[in-house]
């Protein structure tokens, strides 16, 4: 009976090819809209989150806002990190500023001077391609040495292995002891324009006193919150005069801010998830319109085929048989539309991936949802016309002159 209805459905779809195609078009466009938009949203989400993850999800950034009572020292921070080694990995103070650097006659104005300490490379996931990173003696001796990013090397020397070459910044001459591996461009801009020098020297060069910014890495993403609370406790001890206890008992301190990378990741993930849902919802409306198109055509089909319904009923089709026949026809139209739409959106996603150079992928869950939803639309919007067809009385239907 079902197989017979399926055969009948395909026959009547083929009998009205143009009309069936136009009806399906609604579902096809709806399915393409849903799957492609969701894939784009998911692709963007994963590229944003992975670029944030590449910065390190276990990273805490501390900014000191108070000028008073700032008794932070490099050695103090290192001692603190050693004491709290259970949760805290590395600590690195930093002073940074945009600078213009020169080598011979060539000028490079897009560099960022970062004065910091050994361990910074571990916090920021930097790796050294040629030479070495900063060492403790560099710091102690305030040596004029620099570790540079690939952009700096490319721009100033046109090659990357530039160990021993000299670059000039603000009139001081530095010898290059290391070149970093290329990181590429991320959401936060290029990270290959660094010129890293010893922290102690940087303070003198940039007329900076004390520590205004430092990075702390937690040992693993799991202990980030522990690390943060340990860190805040330590900072509250130093900036005790700025500590305020709110009415709810929470301790807040206006002297510093701690920025948690994983909090940001959560926020971004939440935002993009909402965005995905919204896009999917908007696309879903076009699918709904496609469903209404199916209902419209099925209603036309029922009134066109009133006589056929009469004949079938006269020779013994019960209400249920007629209902199933028309329902299956609606499901076949919307299901076929769903499959065609899915195939087209697979193609479109491949093209978009090439054109926009973002990695898009149609997740199986989205594909399953698309097919399932198009079948559901067939059932929902086919039910009313099918029921209408099944309710016709055989005499009236036979008498109908269509």
């Amino acid at each position: 009976m079902i197989i017979q209805s399926l055969r009948m459905a395909f026959k009547s779809i083929l009998a009205n090819k143009m009309r069936s195609l136009l009806t399906m078009l609604g579902v096809i466009i709806g399915i393409i809209a849903v799957t492609v938009l969701i894939s784009i949203a998911q692709g963007t989400t994963s590229s944003v989150t992975s670029s944030i993850e590449s910065l390190g999800t276990n990273l805490l950034t501390v900014n000191i806002r108070s000028f008073r009572n700032n008794s932070l020292t490099v050695n103090g921070l290192i001692e603190f990190a050693e004491k709290e080694s259970e949760s805290i990995g590395n600590v690195a103070p930093i002073v940074s500023q945009s600078v213009t650097s020169k080598a011979g006659d060539i000028t490079y104005s897009e560099g960022t001077l970062e004065a910091t300490v050994p361990g910074y490379e571990k916090i920021r996931n930097l790796s050294v391609e040629y030479g070495r990173f900063l060492t403790q003696p560099d710091l102690d001796n305030r040596s004029y040495v620099a570790v540079v990013g690939t952009d700096v090397a490319d721009e100033l020397f046109g090659t990357r292995n530039i160990l021993g070459e000299k670059i000039r910044i603000n009139g001081y001459e530095f010898s290059v002891v290391g070149v970093l591996a290329e990181k590429g461009t991320t959401v936060s801009g290029s990270s290959d324009n660094r010129i890293i020098i010893p922290f102690t020297l940087g303070q003198r060069l940039l007329f900076s006193t004390g520590i205004r910014t430092f990075y702390v890495s937690a040992n693993s993403p799991d202990v980030v919150t522990t690390a943060q609370s340990v860190l805040e406790e330590y900072l509250n001890g130093i900036f005790s005069t700025s500590t305020e206890v709110s009415t709810s008992g929470e301790i807040s301190n206006s002297a510093y801010t701690v920025f948690n990378q994983s909090d940001m990741l959560t926020t971004i993930t939440d935002t993009t998830n909402t965005l995905t849902l919204m896009l999917g919802g908007i696309a879903g409306i076009s699918l709904l319109v496609g469903g209404i198109g199916i209902m419209n055509i099925m209603l036309v089909s029922v009134s066109e085929r009133t006589r056929e319904i009469g004949i079938r009923k006269a020779i013994g089709a019960a209400r249920g048989a007629i209902l199933i026949q028309f329902l299956i026809e609606a499901i076949v139209v919307s299901g076929l539309g769903g499959i065609i739409g899915l195939l087209l959106s697979m193609g479109l996603i491949v093209i978009l991936t090439q054109a926009l150079s973002i990695s898009l992928a149609l997740s199986p869950a989205v594909a399953e949802f698309a097919i399932g939803f198009s079948l559901l639309i067939g059932i929902v919007f086919g039910m009313y016309p099918a029921n209408k067809a099944s309710k016709l009385t055989p005499i009236d239907a036979l008498r109908y002159e269509g």
């Binding site: 026959k11 013994g316 055989p394």
Partner: protein, 224 residues
């Protein structure tokens, strides 16, 4: 076997009540070839709808093969039509998008017969009406006479106890009309019960017995 007692069927036309059938009593035994004759508006179409279980009487009793029809649900009536009655209509009423064989198979589909049995029965029926060489043709590719033969094949394919023909020659020329009536006589000779509804007394004369209907009443019966 048909047994009707005091069948009344009325229609509401605006404020007026029209009695299409006003107490019809008749019997048709198994194996008979009966013509129901009457002018248009006499109520014979209403009578045919009731005999064919397409409609239910307002009052009176109708037993088909000993079963009281008034008590059945729509679903059960569909099944009775499917298994007991073979319809032949004036306008052939074949489905235009499927071929002759598929048209003949239609009532068998609703009997839930399996594919091979269905095909065999449909081919047998088409052979009996002499259309074995036209089974793949769609109704539009057949002449009127051939289409009506397909309809006859469809009526007999399910092996019903009665064949109900409503003006089967109405859309045909005299010669093909005679062929169809000949076919019905042949089916009658093979033991089928046939009820032929017509306004044409020369065609009615081909039946064993005539029942005259006028203004909703049976005016009399004549054995030929």
């Amino acid at each position: 076997m048909i047994d009707m007692k005091e069948i009344v069927k009325k229609y509401q036309m605006g404020s007026q009540t029209v009695y299409a059938l006003n107490g019809v009593t008749m019997k048709i035994s198994d194996g008979e070839f009966v013509a129901v004759v009457g002018p248009s508006g006499s109520g014979k179409s209403t009578l045919m709808n009731i005999i064919g279980c397409l409609d239910v009487a307002d009052s009176g009793q109708y037993e088909l093969n000993g079963k009281p029809i008034a008590k059945y649900s729509e679903r059960q009536l569909a099944r009775i039509r499917n298994e007991n009655i073979g319809f032949i209509f004036q306008g052939f009423n074949l489905l235009p998008n499927i071929n002759a064989l598929e048209n003949v198979e239609l009532p068998l589909i609703y009997q839930n017969l399996n594919h091979s049995r269905r095909k065999k029965q449909a081919l047998d029926a088409l052979e009996r009406v002499g259309l074995s060489d036209r089974i793949r043709h769609r109704p539009g590719e057949l002449s009127g006479g051939q289409q009506q033969r397909v309809a006859v094949a469809r009526a007999i394919a399910g092996k019903p106890s009665m064949i109900l023909a409503d003006e089967p020659t109405g859309n045909l020329d005299t010669k093909t009309g005679k062929e169809i009536i000949g076919l019905l006589r042949e089916l009658h000779n093979q033991g089928n019960t046939i009820v032929l509804i017509t306004h044409d007394s020369t065609i009615a004369a081909q039946a064993q017995r005539c029942v005259y209907i006028e203004d909703g009443y049976v005016k009399g019966g004549v054995r030929t």
